[in-house]
């Protein structure tokens, strides 16, 4: 690691203030991406703003059919929460399948969403469920939040405080893992809610999470695995690497979507 200044603010506002004053500062949430990157000297922030002492950023609640998860809530908490299991069981299952036990115990939902890794799981849930990202400045619809590869709508001094997920009638997440990293090669989150069906894909797109409109239309008419089985997603714009080329990813999107619909029941 390169040397850095360490801050432990007591409130999100104080954290935002430190960020504003230090353009090369980074937020430390669970650190499951940032710390390994720093250890490899691939990142060298001037300041680390540790949100660990900000008391009101963690926790799970449900109100009027909307699930609210504090940004600093670790994946393991989401996975085992009876509130999540009742409101959106697919989200609990997704959280329980992130990384490994170590990552799930320390990594946070806010950190994952803010990082917008193109192979992360949560962005697919946010898009498919029509989540709202609450920050120190405003509320941002998930559709407007994920703007590209590791890019989000967050301003430099803006901090995610919580994420709200409206409960769906039916939802499921199915992922095909990279054999080495165990990140998603393709992850498909399918959700049927009052506003219609949404199909969000992570792991595959060059610009991160995206929706498959043709599948959504088909599922709006007929929510069954058969409805998407014949829908091929073009390979253009999908990632290619030694583990999966774009054609394979395109194929897996259809297979995972089919299985997600079947799992959603």
């Amino acid at each position: 690691m390169y040397p850095f200044n360490y801050h432990q603010p007591k409130s999100a506002e104080e954290a935002a203030h430190i960020l504003a004053a230090n353009p090369e500062a980074k937020i430390l949430a669970g650190g499951q991406t940032l710390l390994p990157t720093m250890k490899q000297r691939l990142a060298g922030p001037s300041d680390l703003v540790d949100l660990g002492a900000v008391g009101d950023l963690a926790g799970i609640s449900e109100k009027g059919g909307t699930l609210r998860i504090g940004a600093m809530t670790p994946h393991a908490e989401v996975a085992k929460s009876p509130v999540v299991a009742k409101a959106i069981p697919a989200l609990a299952a997704l959280a329980g399948g992130i990384g490994d036990p170590h990552v799930r115990s320390v990594g946070t939902i806010g950190g994952s969403v803010a990082n917008n890794d193109p192979a992360a799981d949560y962005p697919a849930a946010c898009i498919a469920l029509g989540a709202t990202i609450h920050t120190t400045n405003r509320d941002i619809a998930a559709d407007d939040f994920f703007t590209g590869l590791f890019q989000t709508a967050l301003a430099d001094d803006e901090i995610i405080t919580a994420i709200s997920f409206p409960a769906a009638k039916k939802a499921a997440y199915t992922k095909f893992r990279n054999p080495a990293s165990r990140y998603a090669i393709v992850g498909v989150f399918v959700a049927q809610a009052a506003g219609g069906v949404r199909v969000a894909v992570t792991g595959a797109g060059e610009n991160g999470v995206f929706r498959v409109g043709e599948m959504e239309t088909a599922l709006d008419k007929n929510f069954s695995a058969d409805a998407v089985a014949g829908i091929a997603v073009p390979a253009d714009g999908l990632n290619s690497d030694i583990h999966a080329n774009a054609e394979y990813r395109a194929h897996l999107i259809t297979v995972m979507a089919k299985r997600a619909v079947a799992a959603a029941g």
Binding site: P179, A180, I242, A244, Y248
Partner: protein, 793 residues
Amino acid sequence: MTEKGIGAAVLRREDRRFVTGKGQYVDDLNRAGQAHACFVRSAQAHAEIRKVDVSRAKSAPGVITVLTGEDVAADKLGSLPCGWGITNKDGTAMAEPGWPVLAQGRVRYVGEAIAMVIATTRQGARDAAELVEVDTSPLPVVVQATDAGKKGAPQLHEAAANNQCFDWEIGDRAATDAAIKASAKVVSLDIVNQRLVPNAMEPRAALAEFDTNSGLLTLHCACQAPHAMRLLLGAFVLNQAEHKFRVVAPDVGGGFGSKIPPYAEYAALCWAARRLGQPVKWTSSRSEAFLTDAHGRDHVTRAELGLDKDGRFTALRVSTVANLGAYLSAFGPLIPTYLYATLFAGQYTTPAIHAEVRAMFTNTTPVDAYRGAGRPEATYMLERLVETAARELGMDPAELRRRNFVAADAFPYQTPVALLYDSGDYAGALDKALELADVKGFAKRRAEAAKRGMARGIGYSTPIEATGAAPSAIAGQLGARAGLYESAEVRFNPTGSVTVFSGSHSHGQGHATTFAQIVASTLGVPYENVEVVEGDTARTQFGMGTYGSRSTSVGGSAIVKACDKIIAKGKKIAAHLLEASEGDIEFENGNFTVSGTDRTKNIAEIAFAAYVPHNYPLETLEPGLNEQAFFDPANFNFPYGAYICEVEVDPETGFTRIERFTAIDDVGNVINPLIVHGQVQGGVAQGIGQAMFEQGVYDESGQLLTGSLMDYCLPRADDVPSIDSGLTVTPCPFNPLGVKGCGEMGTIGSTPAVINAILDALKDYGVSDIQMPATPLRVWQAIRNGSAPQAAE
């Protein structure tokens, strides 16, 4: 007294310290005033070095010195040595370009050390290393061995024309060509044994210290063969005589062969410590390990097997291009030659075999021994061919094998490729495997899987290997530049406990347990009273180390020989004490007894008498009870087995899961069944790794794309099935213990069984071949490109 002796399933005595974090590895060692080294490494695969500017680095905080290739040349350090020479087809010697400790004028692979920064802290050394400015001019790059010999390919070494190290052959070419021509059926395959990265759990590490008073240089390093390390580094690189050079390998956390070579970093640390008169320490990061630990495999092979009309093998013809990487690693040339093509007979009576191997230099990390080292490559080729032949002939693969096995009464059996097999009952092992794997029930399991939409397949492999290297005289004829015996010293202490010194060195094999069991049985002393000492050139007089599954058969046999000397001397002492003639003394279970009487002395009493010689035949016998022995085996030994794998493939995604795995091994007599089964299971996991997960991939510019565990896929617990392992026992006649090596069988035998099973699962999809690793992507592509892609739908 010997309930923990030979054959007992004793828990490994070293495991308590390992699993409780009390192991002492090199990185756990620290010395007062030690400095830390960090290496500046090449980011380019091939480049001329115009200038290395160390001025900024030298003035960085805490920096003691910065050394470069120029300093290496000025101090006249030798080139890193190669331990095995190969003779070309035309009788000339292989090309042997040098490998400088720090690059001189040119870098030839990503990760090659250019400079060494030594600072008071590890962090400081790393910070300063970033300040070393290396001005380079890039050169064209070649990474594939099959491209390296092409016209116009970039040339790596002046001393290796067309990038060729050697062009070697073995066997009778004319007879093989004729037999192939006359065969009723010829099966051929193009095979890639992909490059693997060893990934021992403990990265390499070293701590070098120099005593300016005595002139003693001490190197603590994570290595498998401390005496060989001392010999090679001292004599060839550092010009440091052995009596002033000590190498210590404490606990070593895995190696798989990658901790044999005398690496540049170890030489550099010794050199720096000697220059500075200050201890210097270095521990490899995982990222450095990926780039600089010797890699394994990397063969491209064309193989043809001839069969007569009854399915009997008539001839085997093999042509391989082996990638040696950028430089000659210590045993790089040995792996694709005498550890590879000499195994081409397998368990079969193939009468004519010819193999040729071209070994090439490329802009990649040097390649050396990796668990199995040549034998997995050979076995994979042969067992793939056999199963392909069975499929093409419509024969039961077990029956085809049985028809070609060397018969149990045909031993010793001379193969057409140099080796004399010691003993075996190959059909017996296969029968046992067929039963344990419930092959009879497979059709039902396959049908049941098909109902779930899964394609289930079964694959076999009947591997053999040569372990226990080696008869030194034969090894010498074949190009070895060292002997391959092992040494032991068995020292009785005055009050009856025993300290055993071995030249082997455990890097996970459990010698402290196995060797103590051997001594407990041989001398009839309690297992708890035996301590095993290894890994220190100052304590064990000499040794060749641990690799190639040799420690028990060679090192253990040396211990038995030393024990025999103890018993012989003990008889003389007992004869004196019991007032009998030496010829009347019998030794059994730790007691010396006058034949036909109840007059007896325990060996502990004899030891006490030897060290407190008040009543002792001093006029004819020296006091003390301490014996040394060297064991140089008369032959290799030949463990073998029968492996059966069952997989299920999800044809929609290509995802493959191993559902059952059966491994029957014959490793001769078994000292500790727990350790043997453990070795088999770990080996099988590693072989599964090559079959399905692992690949060292370079891009065209010579960058390692799989340079971390995010991309280099090691098998994980949920990738490896519960392994049903069993043993048959055919003792080896060439060592006193009757043992054969067990450390590599799992790796050698499992890989082809897995691929054969996957191909069996995919046969209805028109798939007849797949390259390793059979990742989901490759399996899906094979199904899509198969001649009957919709067969199961």
